[in-house]
Amino acid sequence: MEREKVIEVEGLVKKFGSFVANDHLTFDVFRGEIFGFLGANGAGKTTAIRILCGLSRPTSGKVIVAGIDANRPEEIKKRIGYMSQRFSLYDDLTVRENIELYGGIYGMTMKEIRPRTEELLNRLIFSQYGNTLIGSLPLGIKQKLAFAVAVFHDPEIVFLDEPTSGVDPITRRQFWEMIYETAARDITVFVTTHYMDEAEYCDRVTIMNEGRIVALDTPSALREKYDSSSIEELFVKIARPKTETA
C-alpha cells in the first residue's frame, strides 16, 4: 500500500540575490512520519522550513504541503502547527489563556476549546497549573506546553524548530515521548535539531550541507551506508562546514 505523502518537494530552489540557499532540494514526507532535518548552521535548514511553513516563497521548484501548493501560503498555514526556536507562548498570560488563544486562531470555537484544554492538561498532569502565568514556569514545562499548543488544533503536520534546545535530558526524553504520541495520532512531525542523538529517534533523517541534501534515509540505513556507529560520526564525515580553518 502506498503511503500518503503529506509533503512533496521537487527541485526546490531558493535564491537570495545570487546566493543559493536551497539548491534543488527533493524529498517527500509521509503521513505519520517523524522526519528529522539535520545540518550545520547556515546549511539552509531554516530557509527550507520557512518555505514549507508558508513564511516565504520558493524561487523555483515544486513544493506541496498538506496538499496545498507553496504559492498559497495562507491555506497551508491553516493546516499546520509550528513551534519556533524563540519562545512562542506569552509570559503574561496563563496556560489556559495561551491555549485558548491559539485554539481560537486556528478556528476552533470556545465550545471545542474548553473540553480539549482540560483533557490536555489532565494528560500532561498539569491541571493545577492551568491558571498559572507562563512566565513563572520552568523552561522544560514551557517547552512541553509550547509543543502541546502547536498540535492542539490537530494539524496535519507540525514543524518543530530546534524544540529541545537548552532543556535537561529528562525533559528531552519526555518531549520525545510526546512526539511519538503525536505521530501515533497520524500527525506528521517535521523536526530540525542539532542534537545528533535525537536523529536516532526519527523515522527518516535528512542531512543538509551548503544548500543541498547530502543524505536522506532511515537512521540505521545511513549508519550502515557510511559505516558509522552513530549519526554524529557520519555527520562529521559528510557535512563539512564551508570554510575550513587551517
Binding site: L55, D92, I105, F159
Partner: protein, 370 residues
C-alpha cells in the same frame, strides 16, 4: 473575524495583567487633570515691585500708596540706591523697579518736567510688557487726580477710558484654554506611545514570528494591536473630560457627539502614526525615541500653549499636516465656543484625510517590511 476576537481577548488580558499600565491608563488622566490644569497659565497673579523713592514728598507717597493698593503689584522692597535696585532684578527678587527722582513733586508743580523711571526684568517679556502697561495706567490715573487737585475741570482732562470684555471666557480662565490641550496630550500618550511600544515589543521578543506562521492575516494582527488602544484612548478621554467637568466646571458648549467623533478620527490618525513608526524601529528603545520626537514636535507646534495663528508662515504650513493642531483647534472651538459642524467641517475633513493618509503609509510600510 473570530480570530480577531481571540486576539483582542489576549491583548486586553495582557494590558490588565500589567499593573503599571493600568495605573498609567487610569491614574494618569486623573492626576494630569487635577495637577497640571491649574498650573498651566500665563496669567499674572501679581508682580513684585520695588520702589526707590528719592523724593519723599506727599505726592510720591501717594503714588506709592496707589501702587500698593493695586492688586496687581506687591511692593516687596524699597532699595536705597540704583545699584541695589539693579541687584534686585538680577536676583529675581523684583520684577519691576520704580524710581521716583528727587524732583518729582517739583515736576508735578510745573517747575520741571515730572519724570519716572522704570526698570523691568524682561526675561519674561509678557510679564514685563503687561506690568509696564498696568503701571502706566496707574500713573495716568494718578496724573489725572493731581491735575484735578490743581484745579483743572475734569472735562478738560481729555482721556479715553476702556474696560475690556472677554467673550467665551469672561474671567480669562486659563483652565478652559489648557484643558483641551492636556486632554490631547493624554490621548497621544496612549495612542502613540503605548500602542507602538506594544507592537514593537512583540517583534522584539519573537512572538511575532509565531504569529506569522498562523493563519492570522496581517490586517487582523494590526487591528488587534490598534483597537484596544483606540478604545482605551476614548475611555481616557471621557474620564479626563468628566474629571475636568467635575473638578473645574469646564463649560461644554458644543455637541458631545461631535467632540467624540472628531476625537475618534484623531485617535485613528495617531494610531496610524504609531503603526508607521513601529515599522521603522527594530526595538522598543528606538521606537521610544522616534515616537517621542514626533510627539514633542507635533504637540508643541500645535498651538497647545500658544496660538498657532501667531506662528510664522513655515510653522503654519507645517501644521497643515499636524493632526494635533487640528484636534486642539476643534477641541477649543467645540468645547468653548460651541462651534457647530459647519464651523469645524473643514478641520474635520482635513483631519480625516490625515488619518487615512497615515494609515495608508503604515500599511504600505508594513507590507514592505514583512
Amino acid at each position: 473575524m473570530r480570530r480577531l476576537w481571540f486576539l483582542l481577548k489576549k491583548e486586553f488580558r495582557q494590558i490588565v495583567r500589567n499593573p503599571f499600565m493600568l495605573r498609567a491608563i487610569i491614574m494618569v488622566p486623573l492626576l494630569q487633570m487635577l495637577l497640571l490644569v491649574p498650573a498651566v497659565t500665563f496669567q499674572i497673579k501679581s508682580l513684585d515691585l520695588a520702589v526707590m523713592d528719592n523724593d519723599h514728598s506727599p505726592a510720591s507717597r501717594e503714588l506709592l500708596a496707589k501702587l500698593s493698593g493695586s492688586s496687581f503689584f506687591t511692593v516687596t522692597s524699597t532699595p536705597a540706591d540704583y545699584k541695589q535696585a539693579e541687584k534686585l532684578l538680577y536676583s529675581g527678587d523684583a520684577d519691576i523697579v520704580l524710581i521716583i527722582p528727587d524732583d518729582f513733586s517739583e515736576g508735578l508743580a510745573g517747575v520741571t518736567t515730572p519724570r519716572l523711571q522704570v526698570l523691568a526684568d524682561a526675561v519674561n517679556a509678557t510679564n514685563a510688557m503687561l506690568g509696564w502697561s498696568y503701571l502706566t495706567s496707574i500713573v495716568f490715573d494718578f496724573n489725572r487726580d493731581i491735575l484735578i487737585n490743581q484745579g483743572m475741570t475734569p472735562s478738560a482732562i481729555k482721556g479715553i477710558s476702556t474696560s475690556p470684555r472677554f467673550w467665551y471666557n469672561p474671567t480669562l480662565n486659563y483652565k478652559y484654554y489648557m484643558l483641551p490641550g492636556i486632554l490631547v496630550i493624554l490621548i497621544i500618550a496612549i495612542g502613540l506611545m503605548l500602542s507602538g511600544l506594544n507592537l514593537v515589543k512583540e517583534m522584539e521578543i519573537g512572538t511575532l514570528e509565531q504569529i506569522n506562521v498562523t493563519p492570522i492575516k496581517r490586517w487582523e494582527l494590526i487591528a488587534s494591536k490598534v483597537i484596544p488602544f483606540f478604545i482605551l484612548g476614548l475611555f481616557d478621554l471621557a474620564l479626563g473630560l468628566s474629571v475636568g467637568w467635575i473638578a473645574f466646571n469646564i463649560p461644554f458648549e458644543g455637541s458631545l457627539l461631535l467632540f467624540f467623533a472628531c476625537s475618534a478620527i484623531f485617535l485613528v490618525a495617531v494610531l496610524g502614526l504609531a503603526l508607521f513608526f513601529s515599522t521603522m524601529a527594530s526595538n522598543r528603545q528606538q521606537y521610544l525615541f522616534v515616537a517621542f520626537f514626533f510627539t514633542m514636535v507635533f504637540v508643541l507646534m500645535s498651538g497647545i500653549f500658544t496660538p498657532s495663528e501667531s506662528m510664522p508662515q513655515w510653522a503654519q504650513q507645517f501644521n497643515l499636516v499636524n493632526p494635533v493642531a487640528y484636534m486642539i483647534r476643534i477641541n477649543r472651538m467645540v468645547m468653548l465656543k460651541g462651534s457647530g459642524f459647519y464651523d469645524i467641517a473643514r478641520d474635520m475633513a482635513a483631519l480625516s484625510l490625515l488619518a487615512v493618509a497615515f494609515i495608508s503609509f503604515a500599511i504600505m510600510a508594513y507590507r514592505k517590511r514583512a
